[in-house]
């Protein structure tokens, strides 16, 4: 009868399945020793969404670093292979891509992941995947704080490091009284706090302090309020599309004329130069990478990059991802192996010479100790959209990084 037939089919299927997968189903895909093999890096930047342009640049930087080291014979003979994966910058897709790269394509290292949210989700899975991640983009403090992970290395500065650099440089800016316009989000509030402490120390006075929700595009009511203040300096923490809208509306309301000094945090950067235009000449902002730095490694890098990219100069996304690749390569070199466990060991407290000068991968929280800058937007024929940076202050990495977060246990 029907019943017996289906019972038969199930048992047959179940048995054959058991035989086929003999043992436990999770045994598939465990890699063998990676020694002597190629160094396989999965680069997983967003290829869609608001961050796709950064994603493209991040990938280009990793590929550039790989080509460069391969042309020189590899890392002690080991070739570097970049495996490009796609994501839309949501954690689910990024994780799926990471799993595919590690389980199917045998990648042992991950780079180019963009947002802090993705990094948070990825960090939780790294040990299970047996892979190391090199973060050149996610700045959230928690990634080297409560969400830190032994397999995750942050090469880019944390938000706190950048903000400390800005605070240090505050004394070099003329304004005496400051208004604060910040995003109503953790970054905005933390930066405002650090800023106020620094301003207080430097004897500056505070005016209006206000916060606008993330994704605000109409700043009319905020700007109207700012117009009523008598401060001569504005500290603004608005980024992405919000930042562009804020700067443009500032101009429409004639607000920039009111302030002698505008200090942005994460507000103006090369990718937005074209959209913002000459309105931002004279604006000050934090800066993670100094393209004009006279470090020999940097000079070489900028020259080689320009030759390959029609004279274009690298900006922070390119530089930070190139530096991520360098960090990985240094680790592999020191370990004399491409085995993630050995590379992890080798990287702890490793100091090496880089495009950002001498840097150290701090063992306690896996944060790369490197400088951060305060810069001013100036006209520059060689720069993006005719704009470039003048460095006002260079902050020492160890000072701005402070002590490792007590929330982080590796």
């Amino acid at each position: 009868m029907k019943c017996t037939r289906s019972t038969f089919i199930i048992s047959a299927l179940a048995v054959s399945g058991l035989l086929a997968a003999c043992g436990s189903p999770q045994s598939a895909g465990d890699g063998n020793s990676a020694d002597g093999e190629a160094v396989k890096v999965a680069v997983i930047p967003p290829s869609s969404g608001a961050l796709a342009q950064f994603g493209q640049d991040a990938y280009a930087a990793w590929q550039f670093a790989a080509d460069e080291v391969n042309a020189a014979g590899g890392i002690d003979g080991r070739k570097v292979e970049i495996i490009k994966m796609d994501t839309d910058a949501t954690p689910a897709t990024t994780l799926r891509a990471a799993r595919e790269a590690v389980n199917q394509k045998d990648a042992k290292f991950i780079g180019g992941v963009m947002t802090s949210t993705e990094h948070g989700a990825l960090n939780a899975q790294l040990e299970g995947l047996g892979a190391l991640s090199f973060n050149g983009l996610g700045k959230d403090d928690a990634l080297t704080g409560k969400d830190c992970n032994a397999n995750a290395f942050r090469v880019v500065q944390s938000t706190t490091m950048d903000m400390n650099a800005v605070a240090e440089g505050l004394s070099k800016l003329p304004a005496a009284t400051w208004d604060i316009q910040a995003v109503d989000y953790s970054t905005g509030h933390t930066s405002a706090k650090v800023f106020k402490a620094a301003a207080d120390k430097g004897g500056k006075k505070m005016g209006i302090e206000q916060f606008a929700p993330l994704n605000t595009t109409d700043f009319g009511s905020y700007i109207s309020k700012l117009k009523g203040s008598d401060a001569d300096g504005l500290f603004a923490v608005e980024y992405g599309a919000d930042g562009v809208a804020f700067v443009n509306q500032m101009a429409q309301f004639n607000l920039s004329k009111k302030y002698d000094t505008v200090l942005g945090f994460n507000m103006v950067s090369e990718p937005l130069f074209k959209a913002l235009g000459d309105k931002i000449v004279g604006f000050n902002n934090n800066l993670g990478y100094d393209v004009n730095s006279d470090e020999p490694k940097n000079q070489e890098f900028v020259k080689a990059w320009a030759e390959k990219h029609d004279g274009a100069r690298p900006y922070y996304v390119v530089a930070d991802n190139y530096l991520s690749a360098q960090t990985l390569f240094e680790g592999v070199r020191k370990a004399g192996s491409a085995d993630p466990e050995k590379v992890k060991e080798a990287l702890n407290d490793l100091t090496f010479n880089s495009i950002a000068g001498e840097v150290t991968m701090r063992g306690a929280d896996h944060q790369l100790i490197r400088p951060s800058y305060l810069g001013q937007v100036v006209k520059d024929d060689k720069g993006t959209a005719g704009l470039g940076w003048k460095i006002l202050h260079k902050a020492d990495g160890a000072t701005i990084a402070g002590d490792p977060s007590p929330d982080c246990t590796l």
């Binding site: 961050l51 595009t217 109409d218 009511s221 905020y222 509306q249 074209k274």
Partner: protein
């Protein structure tokens, strides 16, 4: 609250008013919520960006609505008309799919970076309004929106075509029996609705930044406006759009961190108090 803050509210309300009146017109006639309305608005902004770069902002103000009207014609002829005997929800979901397609196509053409459009020369600065300086461009937005609202209402009330539109919105079958060419009226309405979305996008381009997420963000707000105003009521949608714009701006002064939630709160209040919307006819 001072005058400039009120003007800020009216400026935002103007954009919502233009967008929601187009959405309400299409809904009234075709019974379909056009979920692609946000995408059309976004298309308007991007087209305005290109035209403003090549020619001028004023040219964009004409060109973008025209291109969008053509897109509206495609929408009507290929989708709404062909699917008019299907369930309305299905057609609504088709527009949902179209929204995803249009938004992605825009990104493929213009890229992912945030763009900005400068206000036209002569309107970049501020103008004195009763003693307080206010951006001239925003005054233009308010002026255009108000003129449009008055014109649209007058046209619907007084002209022959307007009468046909109102009749068809009220009862499609009876209007057809009475000799109104519903297909033609519908083509006109969808074209106008799309053109209004394009106009709103153009006006928004120098006002807010032009970026890939702008369509979705405004769509939700406009849907809320249309529901609050009473689905299908153009006057209700206009009033609700203006009210919400002002409410949101005022809210941003008093409680900035909660202002994002104001439209949703307004929606819940209206639903509990008057489920058919402020100007809705049907329970």
């Amino acid at each position: 609250m001072d005058l400039t803050q009120l003007l800020n509210g009216i400026a935002l309300g103007s954009l919502l008013m233009i967008l929601s009146s187009g959405l309400a017109m299409i809904y009234g006639l075709r019974g379909v919520t056009n979920f692609a309305h946000g995408a059309l608005y976004m298309a308007g902004a991007y087209i305005a960006y290109s035209v403003a770069q090549q020619v001028s902002f004023w040219a964009a103000l004409i060109a973008a609505p025209l291109v969008l009207a053509a897109l509206g014609a495609v929408l009507e002829l290929v989708f709404f008309r062909r699917l008019q005997h299907r369930n309305h929800i299905e057609v609504g979901l088709v527009t949902f799919g179209l929204a995803m397609i249009i938004e992605r196509v825009i990104v493929i053409i213009w890229g992912e970076r945030t763009l900005s459009v400068d206000a036209p020369p002569g309107l970049t600065g501020t103008t004195s309004v009763l003693g307080s300086d206010y951006p001239s461009y925003r005054l233009l937005v308010i002026g255009i929106a108000l003129a449009l609202a008055v014109g649209l209402v007058y046209w619907l009330r007084k002209s022959r075509v307007g009468l046909h539109i109102r009749a068809a919105s009220h009862d499609v079958e009876t209007s057809a029996i009475l000799g109104i060419n519903v297909d033609r009226v519908s083509l006109l309405v969808v074209c106008i609705g799309a053109a209004l979305a394009g106009l709103a996008g153009t006006l928004a381009a120098p006002y807010v930044s032009v970026h890939p997420a702008m369509g979705v963000a405004i769509l939700i707000q406009v849907l809320i406006v249309v529901v609050i105003g009473g689905a299908g009521s153009i006057g209700g949608a206009m009033l609700a759009g203006m009210a919400l714009g002002i409410l949101q701006t005022v809210g941003a002064i008093w409680a900035p961190s909660l202002s994002v939630l104001i439209p949703y709160a307004a929606l819940v209040v209206v639903l509990l108090w008057r489920p058919q919307g402020l100007a809705g006819k049907r329970a």
